[in-house]
Symmetry: C2
Subunit: 155 residues, 2 copies
């Protein structure tokens, strides 16, 4: 088992005092799988909140708090998976070239999403349904803004 994980000093600003270390030797296909897994799970936990904000799903404060805390972690997970090494990967991905040609803009979109999630986490600890639904809307907007610029249109 030759699993070489080189812990390079590739720190991302995470807004939480953590240093995220990238594993520059992880195969590009694995990086893609991992970042897609993070997006899949963001959908799992954001989806029901979106349903609540839209009035399609009954409001549940416990679910808002739990899902917000899961999104807090998940909002930090995909980004190191968009390594340069994954640019020409042959596995199916909806990642657009702008991710690598406009890194500052991509980083800004990540930060906006993380800030929106942090704001949701903060209000999820109180019981103000309206404030929570507004914060959920902001998270959804941040998701959409990033997808607009950096993900292939879905059909």
């Amino acid at each position: 088992m030759k699993k070489k994980l080189m812990l390079a000093g590739f720190a991302l600003a995470l807004g939480a005092g953590y240093t995220l270390t990238a594993f520059s030797q992880v195969k590009p296909e694995i990086l893609v799988k991992q970042r897609q897994a993070a997006m899949t799970l963001q959908g799992k936990y954001a989806g029901p909140l979106g349903g609540m904000a839209a009035g399609k799903v009954p409001y549940n404060a416990d679910t808002v708090a739990f899902n917000a805390s899961m999104l807090d972690a998940l909002s930090r997970m995909p980004w190191d998976g968009f390594a340069e090494s994954t640019k020409g990967v042959t596995v199916k991905t909806a990642a657009l070239p702008a991710i690598w040609s406009e890194p500052a803009k991509f980083k800004e979109a990540q930060d906006n999403f993380q800030k929106a999630v942090q704001a949701l986490v903060a209000v999820s600890r109180g019981g103000d349904e309206a404030a929570q639904k507004s914060a959920i809307g902001a998270v959804g907007k941040a998701c959409g803004a990033c997808h607009q610029d950096f993900r292939e249109k879905q059909n």
Copy 2:
């Protein structure tokens, strides 16, 4: 967009005062995809720690703390994906029938894993490398014990 998410009262004991709500109407294939995504990401964050504990990767306290916090969230994510509805699913899965025939034992394996992760999170806040490596070993053991009984052998 007809995305019906029925928030049923299917609470899992999460050990953190949260109520996890399952979406009984989510398609089995999606549930499988989501639980596999959680396992993929557990591997992403546990792998390097295992490497450190084994002395194959340089020890890094920040990485231990960050990865432990990611595992804290991830250790809560897969289980509602093993819904009864996924038993006969046609997509590829390594889930063994024992998951549904021995639910108490499966639950115990989940709890052991979550407890091991909690213990790692606790020691990851101090700087004791030996204690952290020992806690990492316990997490790996809990992963392996569950896989032994509930996952098809990997080749």
